[in-house]
Symmetry: C2
Subunit: 387 residues, 2 copies
C-alpha cells in the first residue's frame, strides 16, 4: 500500500476542504444521513488532548420529544489508540505504557461527561495474533475478574462514575487455562458486571486468531447498566448479521464493536457493516478500530504469496457512531489517537422501531423454521430449474 | 424537501468535478471499494440512449483466474424509469406507454449484450399504494403466468435470448383473486420459470402496501437460469438481513432488489443495505429504484401531521451494483431514466467466500437454536443486571 494512502487522515476533511457549500450538504446527507450537531468539548479536555496529542470529536443524536416518556440522554465514548512501546519491550512495560496512555484519554472522557466508555479490541496488547507465536504473547492473557487491566479500570470506573467496556485477551483460570477474546463490562461501581466472549473468529490475512482461541460460549448477553442496555459485538462478529440480530433480540440499545482491522483488508467495508446493523436492529452502534502500524520482532508470512515481513499493515482508526435512523458521525482520524463522544437520547431506538417497523415485520418464525430445515439432514436448496 | 435536493443529479459527479485527482482516488476507495473498469458501450446503444433520453453506465467486476474452473462471465442489466403518462390517463394507456418505454431500454440492454435483466418494482404501474384507493388501481394487477406484462416480456426474452425479471402487482386468479407483490422470472426461452412473492411488507410513510397485499408465501426461491443462479429480494425486504441470508443459503449468486423508495425516507440508507448484503452473503446485489415524482388524481394524507397532497415525493433512482468484495458501481442518475450494465465473473462469489470465510464461521446451529428459544413461550432475554 502506498504510504500516501496510509497517511491520508480523514475523508471528511477532504470533502469539507474541496466541495462548495451547497454540494457538501447534499454529499453529507447521502453519505452520513441527517446532520448532527457538534457537542461542545470542555476546555480542560481540549487542553489534555493538545498536550497529549490526541483528537476529540463529539456529536449529539437528538430524539423527538415524547409526551409519556422522559428523555434518556447519556454520553457514550469510544477510544482508539496506538500501542506505546515497541513490541520488543518487556511485556510488563508494554502493558503499563498502554495503561498510562489510555488513562489520560479516559480522563478526557470523564471531563466530557462520558457515562459509558468502550476501549478497542485487546486494548492492553499489541495485536500480536499475526505472528502465530504462542511465546511470549500468551503471557498477556489476563483473568477477566481479577487481571491487572480489570483492576486498573475498576479504579477509573469508581473515580469517574463510568461504565467501561474492556476488551482483553482472557485467561480462563478456572477452565484449564484456556484463552478467549473477551469484553469485560465493568460497572460504574467498579464491580465486574459480566463478560462476553467473541462469537466469530476470523481466519483471514494476518488475523490468525483461531490459533489462539475458539468461538465464544457466552451467547449474546446484554448488560443492563445504570445508563442503558449495552452489548459487545467483538471485531469479526460485525460481518455476521445474525450476531447483531441476537443482541437486539436480547434488548440492547447500544452495541459496541471493538475491532482491530487494517486498510488493505476491510476499509471500504468499515462504514457499511456497523451502520447497517444500527439501521436493521434499531439500536446505536459504536465501531472502534485501533491506529498505527505495529512491527514485530520476528518476521511472519501472510499466506498471500508475498515475502515474510514484520509489520501488520496500517490499522486505520476511523472509529465512528451510527444511529438507528442511519445517521452517523464522521470517523476519527485514520492516523491519530482519539476520543469520540456521542450524546444520545436512547429514546431514538424505540422511535425508529415504531417508524420503520422492521422488528414487527421481520417474520422470525419463518426464519427459525427455515434455518432449522436448512440444518436438517437431507435439506435441498429451494432451487427452481429449467425443465 | 427543497427542489435543489430533488434535482441533485449524482453524488459521484460532484466528487469528480471538485476533488483533486489524488484525493478523489482515496475518497472513491473508501466509499466505493476496489476501482472498477468501465465497460465500453456499443455505439448503437449510445445512440438509442441519446435519442430516447436515458443514461447508460457499464462496469466490469473481474475475478482472479482459477486453475481448475473456467471463468463464468455474464452481463447483467437493471433499468430504472419514470412512469410515462399522467396517472389520470386510462389504465391501459398508462401501461402501454410504460411497456413501450421499457422496450426501448431493453433493446439497448440487448445491444450491450445483457444476459439477465431486472426491471423496477411494480414496473407496469405507477406506485399507487400511497393513495389507499382500491379503485381503479387494483385493476392493474395481472396474472403472473398469463398477464399482459408477462406476455409482453416473453417476446423480448425470446427475441434477445435474455432472462428478464418482471416485478408486478400480481392477481392470483386461482386463489380467490387475491393480490401479491410478485417478481416473475421469465427464461431466455420465453417460458415463465417461476415467481417470488415479496416477503416483507412496509407500513411506513406513503408505503401503504399492506392495504393491498400480504406477506409472500413463496419462501426464498433461487432460479437456476442458463446464465447463473438468481433470486429477488423485493424492496422493503432489503431492510431484513435474514431475507438476504436465506437467498444465499439457497444458492443465489445474484440477488436483485427491485424497489420504489423516496428521498426523504430512505436515501442515506440506500447505499448501505444492498451492499452490506453482498458482503455478508458472498453474492452480487443489484439495487433498483424508480425515478421521478408521481402525482395522483385525488389527494391523500401521509400520517405525518402534514396537509393532504397529491404527490409521492421524489423517487431518487440511484440504482447500483455491489459485489461480494464490497466494491460497488456509482449510482445511476437521481433524476433520469437509465440502464446499468455489469459484466461480472460469477466465480468472484466463491473466491470471496473462501477469502473471508463468513459462511464457514457463521455458526448457524447457534442461531437456529437461539431463534427457536426466543420464539418459545416464557423466553427471557439474556440480560445481566447489577445486583
Amino acid at each position: 500500500m502506498a504510504s500516501s494512502t496510509e497517511e491520508f487522515e480523514s475523508v471528511e476533511k477532504v470533502l469539507s476542504e474541496h466541495l462548495p457549500a451547497e454540494q457538501l450538504v447534499e454529499v453529507k446527507r447521502l453519505f452520513y444521513g441527517k446532520e448532527l450537531q457538534a457537542l461542545s468539548i470542555p476546555v480542560e479536555a481540549e487542553k489534555l488532548a493538545v498536550n497529549h496529542d490526541f483528537e476529540i470529536q463529539g456529536f449529539k443524536f437528538e430524539a423527538q420529544t415524547e409526551q409519556l416518556r422522559a428523555p434518556r440522554v447519556i454520553r457514550v465514548g469510544i477510544i482508539q489508540n496506538h500501542i506505546v512501546l515497541p513490541t520488543s519491550a518487556s511485556l510488563k512495560a508494554q502493558r503499563d505504557a498502554i495503561h498510562e496512555r489510555v488513562a489520560t484519554i479516559v480522563e478526557a472522557a470523564a471531563l466530557c461527561g462520558v457515562n459509558v466508555l468502550c476501549l478497542q479490541e485487546a486494548w492492553p496488547c499489541p495485536f500480536m495474533f499475526c505472528t502465530r507465536e504462542k511465546e511470549p504473547w500468551c503471557e498477556l492473557a489476563e483473568s477477566a475478574d481479577d487481571g491487572p487491566s480489570t483492576h486498573f479500570l475498576q479504579r477509573l470506573c469508581r473515580q469517574y462514575n463510568m461504565v467501561i467496556v474492556s476488551p482483553i485477551l482472557e485467561r480462563d483460570v478456572d477452565r484449564e487455562d484456556i484463552l478467549w477474546n473477551t469484553a469485560v463490562v465493568i460497572s460504574h461501581t467498579g464491580r465486574v458486571l459480566g463478560k462476553h466472549r467473541k462469537n466469530h473468529i476470523p481466519r483471514i490475512g494476518d488475523f490468525n486468531e483461531s490459533t489462539y482461541y475458539m468461538e465464544g460460549d457466552t451467547g449474546h448477553p446484554v448488560f443492563e447498566t445504570k445508563f442503558g442496555r449495552i452489548a459487545v459485538n467483538i471485531c469479526y462478529g460485525r460481518h455476521h448479521p445474525l450476531n447483531w440480530l441476537m443482541f437486539g433480540l436480547n434488548g440492547a440499545e447500544i452495541v459496541f464493536n471493538p475491532s482491530a482491522t487494517v486498510g488493505k483488508l476491510s476499509e471500504p467495508l468499515w462504514g457499511i457493516e456497523a451502520r447497517n446493523a444500527a439501521i436493521a436492529n434499531g439500536y446505536f452502534t459504536f465501531a472502534i478500530n485501533r491506529v498505527g502500524t505495529e512491527l514485530y520482532p520476528n518476521e511472519f508470512s501472510s499466506g498471500n504469496g508475498q515475502p515474510a515481513h514484520k509489520d501488520f499493515g496500517h490499522f486505520y482508526g476511523s472509529s465512528y457512531v451510527a444511529a438507528p435512523d442511519g445517521s452517523r458521525t464522521p470517523g476519527l482520524s485514520r492516523v491519530r489517537d482519539g476520543l469520540m463522544v456521542a450524546e444520545l437520547d436512547l429514546n431514538i431506538c424505540r422511535q425508529m422501531r415504531d417508524y420503520w417497523g422492521f422488528q414487527m415485520t421481520q417474520r422470525l418464525p419463518l426464519y427459525a423454521q427455515s434455518l432449522h430445515k436448512y440444518l436438517s439432514p437431507g435439506y435441498k436448496q429451494q432451487i427452481i430449474k429449467e425443465k
